[in-house]
Amino acid sequence: MLNTIACFKWVMDEADIKSDPKTRQLIYERVGYKISDYDRNAIEEAVRLQEEHGGSVVAVTVAPSGARQCLKDALSRGPGKACFINDPTFTGLEPGQTASILAAAISKMEYDLIICGEGSSDLYAQQVGPALAEKLGIPCATYVNKLTYVAEENKIVAERKLDDGIEAVSIQLPALVTVLPEINTPRIPSLKQVLGAAKKPVEDIGLDSLAGTFSPCLKTTGVLAAVMERRRLRYGTGEEDIRKVVEALLREGVIA
C-alpha cells in the first residue's frame, strides 16, 4: 500500500500568449489553461504505482479560487481525490510561496510519497519540488526517470537522469521525487473517466486553515516578450530559390 500525493499546477497555455511587437507587452486575452505538462507525468506515475501496489492517489494544487475547473481535469487522470488549496490571492505566487503553502497543507495529511513534475511550463523555476521537501523535512530526488517502490523495505529506488549519467538512489519513505517527462506516457482520459471525475471527492483548503504567513520575497519588476530580430524571408523549393538561399548564407559569411 502506497499513499501518494501528486502535485500539479494549473497554468496558462504558453502557446496562446501573444505579444505586442511595439511595446513587447504580453497579451493574455483568450488564453487557455492546462495542467502543466510535466505534472501530467507526475499524476500518471502516482496512478501507475497505485495500480501496481495499491494504496491511494491524491492530487493536490495551490490555485486561485476561480481555477476550480482544474480539479476535474486532474481527477479524470486517475487520482481518487483532489485537494484544492485555494484563495483569491493565490495568483502569481513565487515558487517559495507555493512550496510553503503546499507544506502547510500537506503536513496535516498522511502520505508515503509526493510526486512533482520536473518544472512548470510557465515559470519552469524547478523549485517547488525540492523546496517542498525541505519545508516538510523529508528527503528528495530530482530528475527521476524510473521509479520503483520496494514494499518490504518501505523505500523507493529512483533513477535520476543527470548530465553525467544515471544515478540510482535509495530513499526511505516518506520522500519526494520530481519526475522527468520520459518516465511515462500520460494516458488520455477516457470519456468514462472524464464523467467520473465530477463525482470524486474534493477537499477545499482555504488560507484561513493554514498555519503560517506566505509573503513573497521576490518582486517582478518587468515582463517583456523576448525579442528576436530575424529577417523572416521566405523561399520555396525551386532551384532558383534554393540558390538564393545559398547565396544569402555565403553573403552572411556563415558558410565557407
Binding site: P139, V223, A248
Partner: protein, 317 residues
Amino acid sequence: MAEIWIFAESREQTLELLNAGRSLAGELGAQVVAFALESGLAQEYASHGADEVLVLPPLAGDQPLEAYVPVIAEEAGRVRPDIFLIGGAQRGKEMAARIAARLDTGLCSGCTGLRLDENKQLVMERMLFGGAAVQTVVCAARPQMAAVPPRTFEPAVPQAGREAKVRELPPVSVSPVTVVKRTPKVRETVDITEAKVVVCVGRGVEKKEDIGLAEELARVLGGEVGCSRPVAEELQWLPEDVYIGISGKKVKPELYVGVGVAGQIQHVTGMRDSKVVLAINRDENAPIFDAADYGIVGDLYDAVPKLVKELKNALKI
C-alpha cells in the same frame, strides 16, 4: 563587509560565477567567497577572484553531491551573504532551491542576466513561458539568490599574486538519500554547443533512416547534427546529448538549420542566439519561421537534397 557567495558543482562553472561575482563585487565593494569541492582548487579560485575559499569536506562514496545542502545552508544562514550565486546545472538547481527554502529567501532560477540597480539591489533576469518572455526580479530578503545555467558567463581571468583566506568546513551529516549505483554516461564524441553549424532534426523527419539527409547536409556545411526534444526522448533516434531546448542544450552557432523543426518556444529558447537561422518546413505557419532569417517552405525531402547539391556547387566540394 557585504559578501557575494558562489557555489557550483564543477570547476568551470565556479570560474564563470567568479567572473560574474567579481564584477558585482567591484560595484558593491563586497568580498567574494567561493566554495571548493577539494582543497586543491582553493588557490585557483583565489587567483580567479575569490577573497575567501570554503573547502567542503569529502563525501562518503554512497553520498550524492546534494548531501552538502545542510552544511552550505547552515554557513549561509550564519553569515547571511548579500548575494549567493549557484551554478544552475541539474544538481545545482535542486541544491539552490533547497538552500533558498532553508534560508526563507527568494531564488531566481534559470538566471540569464545579473546587474545592480541604482539602489545596489540585484536585478535578475530569467525566461518565462518556455522562453517567450523575459522576467526581471529583485529579492527583498537576503541572500539574493540566483541559480545560473552553465556558460551564461565567460570564465574569470586569473590574476597573478591574488591570495584568499582558506577555511575548511566541518564534516557533513549523512544524507538519507544514498546512491546505490552510478552509471556514467558514455561521452558522445561531439559537443553540439561547440559546433559552428548545427543541423537540427525535428519531428518532420519521418523515419530514423532519414536522419541521413540531415547528416549529409551537416557534412557539407562542416557542422553537427542536433535535434528537438521529442526526437531524442520519445523517438530516441538521436542521443539526449544533442537535443536543443530550454531543458536541453543551448546552442549559439554561426548557422542553425532546422530540418522539419516546428519551432515550439521551448526549442527556440535553445537556439535563439544563433547568428543566422535557416528553417525548412512544409507548414508555412510553423512558428520556426518567425525565428528564422531564411525560411524554405516546402517538403524537406525535396528541399534538403537540392540544398546539398547547391551547397556542393557553391562550396566546390
